[in-house]
Symmetry: C2
């Protein structure tokens, strides 16, 4: 009987191994995509693209460098193999590596190179490989229609998105989503350290009270269903179970806005926490998340931050200002008339961001006490003035990246608020159950991952920071 | 200007703090839900439910124990407050804690208790709190209709699911999902250690080649769309970008099966890896994940494992057997006739599981080389016998918990296979793009999180290990 015992070390090495091991002067194997072939005449540079970055390989056609080999694909059945250099002699199907073979390497081929590690400060990572062999693992059928191996692809967003499966191979494009990975890691790791439990709640939901024109409708075995706009009801429910919970999952919004900041499907970073003394604790938790995450990015994602020239924002303290006060401040400083005291226009959001950047040097600002009319029924009204709620948005360089607040936890109170809004409790009975049988004071927030990434990277369109964006006109790739 | 500086230590303490700090003899505050009130006459036990477990609090009505206090809610405006015991004197709105007050505490109230920490080996965690004060933070409106505070709820699955938002508060119920959290943590942490990148791919997809009757259809701004059955195309695409990727996300299957092992929405643990030498590497990576995860569960989730009496399986090695061979083995040992050599019946799966348990003491078995007919078009056929594929399922105690395998990476080869199946390349052009422009040899797998959890915990129905299961008849809670 054959048994599988776990992961075995492969013969080829990663960039981390190259950097942490003692390989100088030794012959190693590395696998990756042929990112670029630079033909300098007698010297050819082959740039290997690996997940961790680019590796410079060089082939010189001199007697001194010894004969190198190429194998695989078309050459697999070539005669005269198994000869020469000891460094790669274990592959019996190899033939002599010629300059012409290397020059004819197709970009985007998957290869295994064999070469000697030499310190070279001008190369990425400080090392290059002096090639003695190349094995072709697979070859493309056609030549790339766009220059993904340029450091900056001077291509329109439309063109990049149409070719997304390929354009993401550009090292700057993929660096964005590596940083996005870091944000999600930071969110999870920080919340776990704070006693939160991770949950997975359903995305197909029955038509509920939050529904409306902005939901995607679904036929669920002849029942009316919709795609969840938010895990709101479920995460509150789970506070009754674990006190503090979080979820990282897609949410779906059928909004017809086709703007630079809207997506119809996005990743929402949600948390909800019980036993709070006020909604300030939620803002404090978010600030803690940002502090932890910026430190994590600085530690583990510096390569990508440098590549994209990202300067991490200072999040040691974040100003908090009331909604009505914020409107006054920008009206005064920027000579604006307040048209509607209970609404915030996108331009006002931008100006609030600008105000706090100019006055306090902060990229972030919490805007608190949003008007009740603008918040869902479950938001807790401010006991001191019921026209406002114990809620907040977090603006990052003038863009809302978070909505959060304290929720009603008392059964009678939520029933009253629903009645005032003409809502029927029977529609959301299983949600209301949690209040009927007891819920601690609680609150939470939702962060739009793509928007947070967009602002952090200084991108102008949220589609730049979604792997495969969904908008009103885009369902593919 | 007000600033938010990050997370502040709260006055009340967690169970971890209680266990790691030096609190014996000291008076502390703890917050939680009133899980149970046990009235023993002159002594009353109040069991506090916190996310980490139950905390025993005790109140004795003797002069020796000193006067205790109760406050909050109805008592908030009571006269005669601010007297007595120094331990809780900072709350000026408190009144004397009387035996009758404690006896009338409603279960599922959210409270803050004040009490002295005393070592007590019969109490959970080895400590109890001698109560001197209770502050009620919120109260339920009605008494619970089911006894969630019993260790085992002797309730039908149907009843538990109907009351899911509440029944999950039972400590055994919630322990299941804590273990599930551990599995997901293990998956992510292990793969990150192996150089994988986490990705987030869209769940609303255009109607593609994998579609059929088993998909949930959606109207996407007057375009035909469906909910993703699997991140298959996207994770393969991302191998071209990061070499190794994983995703933890919901998948949607409109299957009409209403069985104990099917869900219409579940969490899929997916990974995909490039530059493989064979599909055995994928099985090795999954074995590595299981080894890492079982060790993680033993380290961080022992309390939950003990509560549910779970014995972790031995995953030091997992047998692998060919599909056709496995059929023969069980036919021989259990006197079964092979009806269809190219299909595996659920009963056969169970018998294969039993065979490898009996013969090799293994709870897991990889069944390899599934027939091509049973695998999707992108599966790589075995070059030695094209009727079979380089693919596998992982069975856990006779249930399929994983499907995986090597994929075709050559453009012409995938076109040929599609043609043979009568598929139109134009339908999935953006997926085929990755092969046209070059893909390394690669493969991967998808693991059903709820099924893996179900088998690990010895549950008989997959609904037991889904927080809010979706099946043909269930769309709520």
């Amino acid at each position: 009987m054959e048994f599988i015992n776990g992961v075995k070390q492969k013969e080829d090495i990663s960039v981390s191994q190259l950097l942490t091991g003692d390989y100088t002067g030794k012959t190693v194997k590395m696998r990756g995509a042929v990112h670029n072939v630079r033909d300098m005449g007698e010297v050819v540079f082959v740039i290997l693209r690996k997940s961790e970055g680019l590796v410079q390989c060089v082939y010189e056609d001199t007697a001194a460098s010894g004969p190198a080999k190429i194998s695989g694909m078309a050459e697999a059945s070539a005669p005269g193999s198994a000869a020469g250099d000891a460094g790669a002699a274990e592959h019996s199907d190899k033939v002599r590596l010629r300059l012409s073979d290397i020059k004819s390497l197709k970009e985007e081929s998957a290869v295994e190179v064999t070469g000697q590690v030499v310190a070279e400060e001008r190369a990425p990572f400080g090392y290059e490989l002096r090639l003695s062999g190349i094995e072709i693992l697979s070859e493309p059928d056609e030549i790339l229609p766009l220059a993904i191996n340029k450091f900056k692809m001077h291509t329109s967003l439309e063109a990049k998105l149409a070719m997304r499966p390929i354009s993401l191979r550009n090292i700057r494009e993929r660096a964005k989503f590596k940083i996005q990975e870091g944000i999600v890691r930071g969110f999870r790791d920080f919340l776990m350290s704070q006693g939160f439990t991770e949950v997975h709640t359903p995305k197909i939901v029955s038509r509920g009270a939050e529904g409306g024109s902005n939901v995607f409708k679904l036929d669920y075995f002849n029942k009316k269903a919709e795609m969840g706009q938010s895990p709101q009801f479920y995460k509150q429910t789970m506070v009754g179970v674990y006190d503090r919970v979080f979820e990282v999952a897609p949410v779906f919004r059928a909004e017809k806005h086709n703007t630079t900041r809207h997506l119809n499907e996005y990743v929402s970073l949600d948390f909800e926490m019980g036993y709070i003394d006020g909604f300030e604790e939620i803002m404090a938790m978010e600030t803690g998340f940002l502090q932890y995450t910026m430190a994590l990015l600085a530690k583990d994602y510096q390569k990508e931050l440098n590549m994209l020239e990202v300067k991490l924002p200072d999040v040691s303290r974040i100003p908090a200002v009331r909604f009505d006060k914020a409107k006054e401040l920008v009206a005064e400083k920027y000579n604006r008339r307040i048209r509607n005291p209970f609404d915030l226009e996108p331009e006002e959001e931008l100006l609030i961001g600008r105000y706090f950047e100019e006055e306090y040097g902060s990229d972030f600002v919490f805007v608190t006490h949003y008007p009740s009319k603008k918040r869902p029924f479950y938001a807790m009204d401010d006991p001191e003035d019921a026209r406002f709620t114990l809620s907040f948005d977090l603006l990052f360089r003038g863009l809302e990246v978070t909505t959060g607040g304290q929720r009603i936890h008392d059964y009678q109170e939520i029933l009253k608020k629903m009645e005032k809004r003409g809502m029927d409790p029977a529609d959301i009975e299983s949600y209301l159950m949690i209040f009927k049988y007891g819920m601690p004071p609680h609150g939470g927030l939702g962060i739009g991952l793509e928007r947070l990434t967009m602002r952090l990277l200084g991108e102008q369109n949220v589609r730049e920071t979604s792997l495969f964006p969904r908008d009103v006109t885009r369902l593919e790739p």
